[in-house]
């Protein structure tokens, strides 16, 4: 059934499994090494659950030095390595292969230092995204990128994928909020890149590593920037009779010089699915809804909202509903952030992640509906409207191989549409295995070869997360 190819496992490596595990057990205590079939199975996939491969073994180092020792061993043994945070990747970034060692960061989950004067936190890579904000929220600070999976996903995984979230319209994505990393290379070398200052020295390796999907090394520690929370925040629901009106409203708000902290879009199917789950008070009789959040003191929020409501009224808004309490605010965001999970209760789905210029949103939304309908399937749209990052959820039945094939084909058509519209294949989920074979839609051979030569400067033998990001054929090794 698999449309996405995996490389054939190297029989030489499989044959040496016992020897490789014996080598690892010299470097790690028994409780840091997962070898039994049952336990390894827990690592066979991530959030792209249609694809699974049981790894050779799983190493769970406790320190940067142990990570370095394991990587050095893997390089010497010629064994592939698949880094793993919490395994919440929607693009298959953490899916193993049979001849690979998974290196999981779950035992490196400590917050090492908090410094409010310099507004930084130093963490180990296995700390969850939400744990950083929770550690500093009593003092009024937060870590800005907020992917929907923030309860589970790790900062190491966020760095691998350059994760975003609903509030990055104002605060930027992971790459704008990380100041330094400790990177362990495939040679087992430990490199400090960036640090506690605002600018890193030399070439911007930090910018290169964030979003490199575990292909350049394993990040074991990071210094992230924290921000002071606004005095208050209030989401407001705006209901429209058409997606086009909602899309035009988004463009008009930005054009008027207003950049709210978040502007989230849901179409009717998404509203109904999320409302049934979260009971957030979403309007059910509209075709499209925007969740727009403003921040600041009471008078500032009032002033900004007034401008936004005026613009929305010029674009035919039918329902305006402000959050009136912290509980309502929490429910509104619970509904939005659980969109994927709530959708999973009604159907299986695949989630696309293309980004398009915001002026193209109405056209791309319309074409998305047409494409999915042409395959006889349904779609729910829920996405970050302010920055054009779309998330069409294509609903299908995973037990029907024909339907899965159709859903994947529709998804690929939508991503091609995003590229044609001047956008890209993935805004925040990463390429992983899922979009690997579409890279040539967006990039020329020269573009890809330049990326691959940079990759090879870090990992000339392609041992790190090797089946991801770049098409399996035509690879450049130096």
């Amino acid at each position: 059934m698999s449309a996405i190819a995996f490389p054939l496992p190297d029989p030489g490596i499989l044959a040496r499994r016992a020897e490789i595990i014996a080598g690892l057990s010299v470097l790690l205590p028994a409780d840091c090494l997962v070898t039994s079939e049952d336990e390894r199975r827990a690592f066979e996939t991530d959030a792209l659950t249609a694809y699974r491969r049981v790894p050779l073994a799983v190493a769970l180092p406790r320190t940067t030095a142990e990570t370095a020792a394991v990587l050095r061993f893997c390089r010497e043994a010629g064994v592939n390595v698949v880094p793993r945070g919490a395994g919440t990747s929607l693009s298959g970034g953490a899916i193993p292969q049979e001849d690979a060692i998974v290196i999981g960061m779950s035992k490196m989950n400590r917050i090492l230092d908090v410094n409010y004067a310099n507004r930084i936190v130093r963490v180990q890579a296995g700390v969850t995204n939400l744990a950083i904000s929770e550690a500093v929220s009593p003092d009024g600070f937060f870590y800005a990128p907020d992917p929907s999976s923030q309860l589970a996903c790790t900062i190491g995984g966020n760095i691998g994928m350059n994760s975003g979230g609903a509030h990055c319209l104002k605060y930027g994505v992971t790459t704008n909020n990380v100041l330094g990393v400790t990177l362990v290379t495939i040679d087992g070398e430990i490199i400090e890149i960036g640090g506690e200052g605002m600018d890193a020295a030399g070439l911007d390796f930090l910018g290169l590593i964030v979003g490199s999907e575990g292909q350049l090394g394993i990040v074991t520690e990071a210094v992230v920037r924290i921000l002071r929370s606004a005095e208050g925040a209030r989401p407001v629901l705006f209901g429209f009779d058409s997606s086009e009106e909602a899309g035009a409203c988004v463009a008009a708000i930005i054009g008027a010089g207003v950049v709210p902290v978040a502007m989230e879009f849901m179409d009717k199917p998404a509203i109904h699915i999320c409302e049934a789950f979260a009971k957030a008070g979403y309007p059910l009789d509209v075709e499209a809804m925007l969740i727009i959040e403003v921040e600041g003191s009471e008078i500032e929020m009032e002033a900004e909202l007034q401008r936004i409501v005026e613009i929305a009224q010029q674009h035919g808004v039918r329902v305006v509903k402000e959050s009136r309490s912290a509980l309502e605010t929490a429910l509104i965001w619970k509904g939005r952030k659980s969109a994927f999970g709530a959708t999973g209760r009604v159907a299986d789905y695949i989630c696309m992640d293309g980004t398009v210029p915001t002026s193209q949103l109405p056209y791309v939304l319309k074409r998305t509906g047409e494409i999915v309908a042409s395959y006889g399937l349904r779609v729910a749209n829920v996405f970050h409207a302010g920055d054009g990052n779309m998330h069409p959820l294509i609903l299908y039945n995973v037990n029907d191989p024909a339907e899965q094939e159709k859903a994947e084909a529709a998804g690929m058509d939508i991503l091609r549409l995003c590229v044609e519209a001047g956008g890209c294949l993935t805004g925040e989920h990463g390429v992983g295995i899922e979009k690997r074979d579409l890279m040539r839609e967006q990039f020329t051979q020269a573009d890809l070869e330049q990326q691959m030569r940079v990759r090879a400067a870090f990992d000339p033998r392609w041992l790190l997360n090797p089946a991801k990001v770049f098409p399996l054929d035509g690879r450049v090794t130096a």
């Binding site: 930027g172 210029p357 925040e428």
Partner: protein, 377 residues
């Protein structure tokens, strides 16, 4: 042209407007390649907050086009003409190639945070693109950031795409007077760490020391936030609201390093470090008898220093910056001094090996701006 130069074994110095020509190590290149002919805004839709321009487009043209739509580049790029006593027109390509930012960096990030797409020609003569013109894009390796601040050593940028922000409706600046460096940095940390979104925090030491704190937003917000900030900082003395025109001039001076740019100073440095280490870093340089003048930007996270000439040969500034968990760049000195001394912070061997391998991946024969950042790279 790059292919021809490569075939002939000639090296290339990339030149934009020539206003930043004292930045980096001096080079003797076979050919100078100017981006003068690559000029013009290629795509700009105000409602998308995104603008693309060819690399040689003068900043004045960019600023005017954005101003007509009440928008700005978020990161307030420095104009280097005062520092280097150069004339001519700074270009958008050099802003990207040198990661040129300004005081708003504390709130809005550096040039590298707003640069979302590049087209370049690498040292093999191949046209390569990375990123695009959408605000969120994680497709493939981020060669955009890698080239931002690479000083043209990986590729000749031909077209760059930046995110924009609306021009703030109003700007207000508070001034605290008479603080010493450490107290000023504490005040700035309190201000930048407040909910009032300070968009500039600089300290100009001296007999009449002034600490500047800027807020930019809607008129109603600016008024409210300045009031709240004054209350928050009451322990540091009375905060005076400056006249908007005077504030504009002050921030331009901070942006362009004017307080240390006096042409008589033999060496000017720019150090990036954690704010709480900045005052001790300056004190160390001063105790060594090297300090002539200095000031702080980015809430203390950026220090501009003018030093004596003998700081050039000792590595003292780089060592002090490293001890302060930061790094320093020699921004201005005579050509022979910049050829002799390290201009950028010396790197560990591992990082230098990586730098060389990445350089080779773009420019195997080292023909593009060779040695601009590091000797032999």
């Amino acid at each position: 042209m790059i292919r021809a130069a490569r075939a002939d074994g000639r090296t290339i110095e990339i030149k934009g407007g020539g206003t930043r020509c004292g930045f980096g190590r001096p080079m003797q290149a076979g050919v100078t390649l100017s981006t003068h002919g690559l000029s013009g805004i290629t795509a700009y839709k105000p409602s998308e907050l995104v603008m693309s321009a060819l690399a040689g487009t003068p900043m004045s043209e960019i600023d005017a086009a954005l101003a007509a739509n009440n928008q700005i580049l978020p990161f307030e790029p420095m104009d280097h003409r005062a520092l280097y006593a150069t004339t001519g027109a700074p270009t958008i390509g050099a802003v990207a190639a040198c990661n040129v930012s300004g005081p708003r960096r504390v709130k809005a990030g550096a040039a590298r945070d707003s640069l979302i797409g590049v087209r370049l020609v690498n040292g093999r003569g191949e046209a390569v693109k990375s990123g695009g013109r959408v605000m969120k894009n994680v497709t493939g390796l981020d060669l955009v950031k890698l080239n931002c601040g690479a000083h043209g050593g990986l590729g000749l940028l031909t077209e760059v795409t930046f995110k924009l922000v609306p021009k703030p409706q109003r700007t207000g600046t508070l001034v605290l007077e008479g603080l010493d460096d450490a107290r000023a940095i504490a005040a700035m940390s309190a201000a930048v760490g407040s909910p009032f979104e300070v968009s500039g925090a600089a300290h100009l030491p001296g007999e009449r020391a002034r600490t500047l704190l800027r807020v930019e937003h809607f008129a109603i917000s600016v008024e409210y936030r300045l009031g709240e900030l004054s209350k928050l900082l009451a322990g540091y003395g009375e905060a005076r609201l400056t006249d908007e025109q005077e504030a504009l001039t002050l921030w331009r001076k901070v942006r362009d390093a004017a307080p240390v740019a006096d042409s008589a100073h033999p060496a000017i440095w720019r150090a990036s470090l954690p704010p709480t280490n900045a005052a001790a870093f300056v004190a160390e340089i001063n105790a060594a008898g090297l300090l002539r003048n200095h000031f702080y930007d980015w809430g203390g996270g950026l220090v501009w220093l003018a030093t004596e000439a003998h700081a050039l040969d000792t590595g003292a500034v780089h060592r002090a910056a490293a001890r302060a968990k930061g790094h320093a760049t020699l921004m201005r000195a005579a050509d022979e001094a910049r050829a002799r001394a390290d201009v950028f912070q010396p790197q560990t061997r591992t990082l230098m090996d990586l730098t060389k391998r990445v350089k080779a991946s773009f420019d195997p024969d080292r023909i593009l701006n060779p040695g601009r950042m590091y000797a032999g790279v």
